[in-house]
Amino acid sequence: MAERTGMVEKRGAGLWLTHLGLIIGLLFIFFPIWLAFVASTVDQQEIVRPPMPLWPGDKLWENYSEALLSGVNAPVAWMMLNSLVMAMGIAIGKIIISLLSAFAIVYFRFPGRKTFFWLIFLTLMLPVEVRIVPTYEVVAGFGMLNSYSGLIFPLIASATATFLFRQFFMTVPDELAEAARVDGAKPMRFFWDILLPMSRTNIAALFVILFIYGWNQYLWPLLITTDPSMNTIVMGIKQMFPSGDDIADWPVIMATSILAMIPPVIVVISMQRLFIRGLVDSEK
């Protein structure tokens, strides 16, 4: 009988096997991260003479402070700030323009509304990777290379968030807007007093997704930030590898890798519920 209940309810040996299976999976997931962490706590000598230790050493403080304060090309603290500005800029910028335009297309009838709707629909289809060369030329033409606006604007130009908010606004009962009209609320007042507070959860969920999207960008910052002081941390790691046959400064590189994953990991874990919701919403 115990075996038959299988998936319905596991007890005894079966339960332990299930846990064992999951733990093997966790090892596969965490081994690379663990190794990077260990490497960030030992000195270069212990790494270049393989095999490297599998338990953390005592150089954590030295490696991280070296990475943060001087890095290889630029201090990692500075690169993290750049990443933060970029991720926040993309998340906040995209949320603002999307909220406004979704409000317009759902609650107004204006000339060009259908056209606008289809135009932004098209943008859903093209990731920035596909149009990098001409986009680069546009950004260069505006003199926005090595600038925050150059990092942020091209990545805001997509309509996923607009669609998300449109979907949500459509589910807001019509009567709520009517009640607001009867109460004398003008459109922007309704937007501000009623629609925005009601969208709080959606906004937060989307923020989590967009923050990670922005923080983890690689190709775009690689193209437009030639000045090391404008590098973001995720793309800056690769720049820390020496060209040619020199040995890489692994402890500092690995400390940087760990630093690069800390903010998004904190966001994902601490806002897990919102994150999962955002993930599911944005794929609907």
Partner: protein, 335 residues
């Protein structure tokens, strides 16, 4: 308090006409119920008065002001919605005071008026709660409170009780009526429930397919329906209709005859119609006897429970007084 008058109001969506011209003059403090089946245009009519739908043709006057092109807020009306339309993120007090806040009234005055309304509706203990923490009946009261606080000239109700269970509906119906009497505010009330209409209305408008079939006091309409539709819609169980040829003493100009179930009587002789008992529904105080007549139609007789209940399959006769017989022509108009 105000008078409201509708002058030949029409509405069309694109090429489809949904309201074909409605006229009524409403007195100060009067309680008007617009009743009809779903899709008859009753909500659209109310929403045109509210200013939520544009008026295709005709005029709406509130007091002596033509309001066709005014925003809802400028019309001095308040509205109670079917699903209450409470702002989910605001407390009860904030919901009720929102209109006043937008109008820029001082905080003290808002708090005062909200308190007064809350007292009237027994909502005081709930002022700091949010709508989702309230029961259906309480939400309904908050929606009413939001309307009262504004001290409008006209109340508009759009099926305000249809989301409540049967028992609560009866109770709230009574409360609405008392409240309206007490405040004396002119009211327009939309419902599909003819019982609600009968019990609430000073006068009612019976709508059918975009037309006002009849306007009048409930009992007057009940006793004297102007069309076949009104006779069938008002009263439960509905009026029995049958072809005029079926009875021996035909009303010459009528195509269809109608007799209310309570006006029919089961008799053994002098029957105007004969039939066979299909089944009986004993409801306690009264019994509904369903009778199959020669053309296979089934008519209903409503009789007191004290009367003997015929068994199924018994052949019986039906009789009624000539005064209670209503004749309708081929267009459903009363003859």
């Amino acid at each position: 308090m105000a008078t409201v008058s509708l002058k030949n109001i029409k509405k069309s969506f694109g090429k489809t006409d949904v309201i074909h011209g409605v006229d009524i003059d409403i007195q100060e403090g009067e309680f008007i119920v617009i009743v009809g089946p779903s899709g008859c245009g009753k909500s659209t009519l109310l929403r045109m008065v509210a200013g939520l739908e544009t008026i295709t043709a005709g005029e709406v006057h509130i007091d002596d002001r033509k309001v066709n092109d005014l925003e809802p807020m400028e019309r001095d009306i308040a509205m109670v919605f079917q699903n209450y339309a409470l702002y989910p993120h605001m407390t009860v007090a904030q919901n009720m005071g929102y209109g006043l806040k937008i109008a820029g009234r001082p905080k003290d005055e808002i708090a005062d008026r909200v308190d007064t309304a809350a007292k009237l509706l027994q909502l005081e203990p709930y002022l700091d709660r949010r709508p989702r923490e309230l029961s259906g009946g309480q939400r309904q009261r908050v929606a009413m409170g939001r309307a009262i606080v504004r001290k409008p000239a006209v109340f508009l109700f759009d099926e305000p009780l249809s989301n409540l269970d049967a028992k609560l509906r009866v109770q709230m119906r009574l409360e609405i009526k008392q409240l309206q009497r007490r405040l004396g505010v002119t009211s327009l009330y939309v419902t599909h429930d003819q019982v609600e209409a009968m019990t609430l209305a000073d006068r009612m408008i019976v709508m059918n397919a975009g037309r006002a079939d009849q306007i009048g006091a409930p009992l007057e309409i009940y006793a004297n329906p102007a069309t076949e539709f009104v006779a069938g819609f008002i009263g439960s169980p509905p009026t029995n209709f049958f072809s005029a040829d079926l009875v021996q003493t035909p009303q010459t100009d009528a195509k269809t005859l109608g007799v209310r179930p309570e006006h029919m009587e089961i008799v053994t002789e002098n029957a105007r119609l004969s039939g066979e008992v299909l089944y009986c529904e004993a409801l306690g105080a009264e019994t509904l006897v369903h009778v199959r007549v020669p053309n296979e139609q089934v008519l209903t007789v409503r009789q007191s429970a004290e009367k003997p209940q015929p068994s199924e399959g018994t052949p019986i006769g039906l009789n009624w007084s000539a005064n209670d017989q209503m004749g309708f022509d081929e267009n459903g108009k009363r003859r």
